[in-house]
């Protein structure tokens, strides 16, 4: 994991430096009367320091070839995330029941490999049931969509 350690600590350093730069734009104030930017700047600087330490530690270790990629299907989380983002923005225009049924169908059919009619039926049932339970029984506000 040493190559990975270099990457992760480098990303942390970058993030901290961006944060330092952004925090500098806020009013700093003085040590005895700190302004809005004081604590964020200190935190960002401290994070940069710790991240640099981590990076230094990772660099000092002899570089080892990247670990063999663990067995796994990398496309699955990526596909799920894309579906989830699409769902998020479809939620309000389409309404909860329709958007959720589509999302669940995708999960059951594409990721879990169910037969399409099983996937479709379970997606519709689960989405309708969860709407009834959360929106009707528990009074959770869910987007109704065009059918309200």
């Amino acid at each position: 994991m040493r190559g990975a350690d270099r990457v992760s600590s480098f990303v942390l350093v970058l993030f901290a430096l961006v944060a330092v730069n952004e925090a500098r734009k806020l009013r700093l104030g003085t040590l005895t009367n700190p302004g809005p930017g004081f604590v964020p700047l200190c935190l960002a600087l401290a994070l940069a320091l710790v991240a640099l330490l981590l990076l230094w530690r990772a660099l000092r270790e002899p570089a080892t070839p990247a670990p063999p990629t663990e067995p796994g299907e990398r496309w699955k989380p990526v596909a799920s995330l894309i579906a989830l983002v699409a769902y998020t923005f479809a939620l309000e225009p389409l309404g909860f029941v329709l958007a959720t049924a589509a999302l669940l169908f995708f999960f059951f059919r594409v990721l879990d490999g169910q037969r399409w009619w099983i996937a479709l039926a379970s997606a519709v049932v689960v989405s309708a049931l969860s709407y009834l339970i959360f929106a009707r029984a528990l009074h959770v506000r869910l987007p109704e969509g065009p059918w309200s």
């Binding site: 994991m1 809005p36 935190l43 067995p71 299907e73 989380p77 999960f107 689960v126």
Partner: protein, 503 residues
């Protein structure tokens, strides 16, 4: 006498049908999600926050607390039967519990876990009852400098007692605090890092962050790896531990309870660390340390007692100071605030029904859990056979509903998804999420109390060193930082803890 009447009042409150039902629902859901890997008490409690709008304040806190300690019970079941910890706090239970199951002693292992948890839960309720009221009067003297000292102690605890790399934990805590500064400045209300966004203007939400880091990331990881479900096929016969088992386990349960309770009070500890320390302690003082890891019953009993007792201990800072000592308590604090109740030194006087009702309900909840779990273990085992392909879309769906319903803002879902990815990367690269979330919560309070202290003293730092309580807390925080490096026994004990987790 005041204690007794308080507790009796609490029982009267917790035995009202609505509260009893809330308690039952809480521990039932808790056990359920404790059994199911991939969804934990933190995510579940956040999820159900909006549901509590419709309930009375007391009932909703009773239910929330029930989910937490119920999950502690449920988590051990999967550890023992499947070698998968249902909760992080049950990791240690796998070590000897699963070995016992393989030797055909799954019954006694489950039994001692349930009884050990019950005994520890009982002891910790007693502890809360005895300690909380006197601490409340101390808490009334807590001003910003003392709160700052206590929070600093929490930060050092969470980073220096973490199982993995300390430096990484420090980095995550700093990152969490930095994320906590997004939103309005606590003193002057100047927008910080908001970039004109309304969602960021309120600060990043705790619920989306928790759901992302603990719920979504776990699911994404499991989808990629593929979850192998292999339920240990064994007939569970006889849940009652033998007399011999009891003789071996009695002292470890007692030690685990006391250890867990007092560690649980300290900010930044949570329920996980006490289980490691208690296991390490038992192995260290055992006359047969070689038995540990091969199915020693005390290796199940002690950590199970410790995690339940820690749950109780963690209620103390919340009820008396209004400070969340760990992530779960942060969510519980949220549940109080939803109902417009500020937990803290005034809680016992202003809302005695809540204070005593919740404490008594924890006792009632422990009894329900014992009754519920012994016969229902078979059902929980069946539940583990629910295919993950069906389970994970539901978990994701619940996370989305929970996050969205808080403010009807789709951008909160986006925040959750972003933190889901961040959490996935953190898991892959070996960073822990707990220090980040805790620092996120406490960081805002720490900045506020620090700056309030300086306002109080007109910019003199000696306010932190002239008030005895604040000074004591700061010295304690410093001690936690320095002590492990200086005192060998502490270092050794923490060393064993590290070995146990394999980090």
């Amino acid at each position: 006498m005041e204690l007794i009447s308080g507790l009796l009042y609490g029982f009267a409150v917790s035995f009202t049908p609505a509260n009893l039902f809330a308690c039952f629902v809480g521990v039932f859901i808790g056990t359920l999600i404790g059994v199911l890997p991939g969804i934990g008490p933190v995510a579940t409690m956040s999820l159900l926050l909006p549901v509590t709008y419709a309930m009375s304040p007391t009932a909703s806190i009773i239910m929330m607390a029930g989910i937490y300690y119920g999950a502690m019970y449920g988590g051990s079941t999967t550890s023992i039967l499947v070698n998968i910890p249902g909760e992080a706090a049950s990791v240690v239970t796998c070590l000897d519990g699963y070995q016992m199951a393989r030797q055909g002693r799954a019954g006694p292992a489950l039994g001692i876990a349930a009884f050990g948890s019950f005994i520890a839960g009982t002891l910790s309720v007693l502890g809360i009852m005895l300690l909380a009221p006197p601490l409340t009067s101390v808490a009334l003297r807590f001003g910003p400098p003392e709160i700052f000292g206590l929070l600093l102690l929490g930060f050092t605890m969470v980073t220096y007692l973490t199982a993995g790399s300390k430096l990484r934990a420090v980095a995550m805590a700093l990152l969490g605090m930095l994320l906590g500064t997004v939103g309005l400045d606590p003193i002057l209300a100047t927008p910080r890092f908001t970039y004109g966004s309304v969602t960021l203007g309120d600060g990043l939400g705790l619920v989306p962050i928790i759901m992302g880091l603990f719920g979504v990331s776990e699911v994404l990881l499991n989808i990629e790896k593929g979850v192998t479900q292999e339920v240990f096929e064994t007939r569970i016969k006889g849940l009652l531990p033998t007399r011999e088992d009891w003789k071996i386990s009695a002292a470890p349960i007692a030690r685990g309870s006391v250890l867990g309770f007092f560690l649980g009070i300290l900010p930044g500890i949570g329920a996980i660390i006490p289980t490691f320390i208690s296991y390490a302690l038992e192995r260290r003082i055992s006359r047969h340390p070689e038995r540990f890891g091969t199915g020693a019953i005390e290796g199940v009993a002690a950590p199970e007692a410790a995690n339940n007792a820690a749950t109780g201990g963690a209620m103390i800072p919340l009820l008396t100071l209004g400070i969340a000592p760990n992530v779960v308590m942060a969510v519980l604090l949220g549940a109080f605030l939803i109902h417009g109740v500020q937990p803290g030194p005034l809680l016992i006087r202003e809302h005695p029904d809540m204070f005593w009702g919740v404490i008594a309900s924890m006792y009632v909840g422990n009894v329900i859990l014992l009754i519920l779990n012994l016969p229902l273990i078979g059902l929980w085992v069946q539940l583990l056979r629910v295919p993950y392909g069906l389970l994970f879309p539901l978990i994701l769906l619940f996370c989305i509903i929970g996050v969205y319903s808080e403010a009807s803002n789709v951008w909160d879902i986006v925040v959750m998804l972003v933190f889901g990815v961040v959490g996935l990367l953190m898991k892959k690269y070996g960073y822990e999420a707990a220090p980040l979330v805790l620092a996120f919560v406490l960081g805002r309070m720490a900045e506020e109390s620090f700056r309030q202290s300086l306002l109080l003293s007109h910019g003199h730092f000696d306010i932190l060193f002239t008030r005895p309580l604040a000074t004591a807390l700061l010295i304690l925080a410093l001690a936690v930082m320095v002590l492990p490096a200086v005192v060998p026994p502490v270092k050794r004990l923490l060393g064993t803890v590290g070995e146990e987790t394999g980090t």
